[in-house]
Symmetry: C2
Amino acid sequence: MRKVVRTIGVDVGGTAIKLGLVQGTRVLKQQTLSTKRFSSSPKRLEGGLIHAIRSLIDEAGGKVSAVGIGIPGLVIYPEGIVQTCANLPGWDRVPLRARLQRRLGLPVLVDNDVNLMTLAEWRIGAGRGVKNLVCMTLGTGVGGGFVINGVLYRSRLGPSAEIGHVAVGEAGPRCSCGGRACLERYVGNRAILASVRSRIAEGVPSKIPELAGYQLNRITPEMIDEACVRGDRLARQTWEEAGRKIGLVLSKVVNLLSPDRIVIGGGLAKAGHWLFDPIRETVRARAMRQVAGVPIVPAKLGSSAGLIGAALLAGDAK
Amino acid sequence: MRKVVRTIGVDVGGTAIKLGLVQGTRVLKQQTLSTKRFSSSPKRLEGGLIHAIRSLIDEAGGKVSAVGIGIPGLVIYPEGIVQTCANLPGWDRVPLRARLQRRLGLPVLVDNDVNLMTLAEWRIGAGRGVKNLVCMTLGTGVGGGFVINGVLYRSRLGPSAEIGHVAVGEAGPRCSCGGRACLERYVGNRAILASVRSRIAEGVPSKIPELAGYQLNRITPEMIDEACVRGDRLARQTWEEAGRKIGLVLSKVVNLLSPDRIVIGGGLAKAGHWLFDPIRETVRARAMRQVAGVPIVPAKLGSSAGLIGAALLAGDAK
């Protein structure tokens, strides 16, 4: 009889921590915590994770083989040392894997959250079956993950596949990463919303303000999508310009790696063809002709990709 | 007693074809042919290679285990199908490996020339001992090679590590690859010399014309280097601007792959610190701070890197 393997996947996000008990690729139980409650320090988050993981293990009758954790920051793998965390204070070379392993008495693996989304999309999602995959996530941050020669790519220093920090042009606004003109500064959630608000404030006609109840600080990406459907020019231009910038950066990635497929997920990717069309057109126009036809497809696993990827990673633990 | 393995490495360049009989990493015999004699068609080049390889095998007393060949074009590996060749006409999906193997009766491996330079620098040159390496060559073309997770990276479609075809900015001149604003269009041999000539023609004072006997079409990169040493401002600016553009593109590569080291070779790299300093400064200023300190070093193996890489590749043949 084949042994039933259950793992726990944890996806630590800037606003929510998702935990799931996973068997194979099926999520048996899922739980969500507010990150805010634990974000004051790494120690506090560690305590919260221990508590939540233990109760999931109890619910599973103790039959959990390992735990995988995705962190929105730079992680040294396989050591599981968190170098920095973009949206959480105090994370400075925290040996999270060793600490949790000691306290849980279970194998624990810790990796970057976008890496784990990439792992999930590659194993069971939109990136299935290819040898070289580029995965991208469009949200508050713009992240990336690579599968190269059938292996999830990780570097010695932590950063890898930082598509959001590839410069679009020669000059441009400073970025918190240390660079300038980074893609994230143009197409991250904040940048997109700020640009829409400022154009509306300039008097550009649009249906977006109405959708936001005339409160510009309430505008969401979903409202831009809705306005696109209603034929709004500003909304369509917004995704066109974002798509063009994303396409410019992906053209560079495509010339460097010639991946078999590109998978794009994250909240902003919900814009669908309004965003994907200009991305594909730009890559076709700007990448080398031999590779310019690379398929660019939406992610399949939605917002639980990170959790599933963490559980799949745990499945690899020895 | 350990068996002595001898292989033949061949580096097909735009102007010269270099062949070498190699034992371990030592070049026992070397021979150079003019590419022009054979460049009219793939068939003619094939005939020339067969002839030259056979006579090297004879000189070696028949003791050659395999042949490795580097081609300045897109090569499907391991099939050894040459998709296109930048400077040679008629190369359109030529199954060079299969053809040569049949006629020589020996294992033959065919790869892109910059990939083989990368292999050589990685195994016995300036890239020794690292797991993730970026190699770059600055000459007529601007090429690249990656070692990722201890394996030379090759894509399914042929192009890989095409650093010369990463766009510097959003807009820029058309490139023969299908893209725009490619690094090669700014820092390839031709672009550098054209820029120097046009500035001199504009009346920018410089010592370069004197070094070229006042014949602007005789200017070489070496004369620019010599002028740098003599304090020439135009010459120094030329390498500074080229270094800045190279640094901008390498910053992108560094953020995507976080390599352990970057090795730069090719004719233009002889400019030394005049070129390497602005490259390093730009990477330090523009890459993510965690990876901006990546060592950027000159290649070690000089112009025989391609030949040695081809021979090393042959050593891997089964």
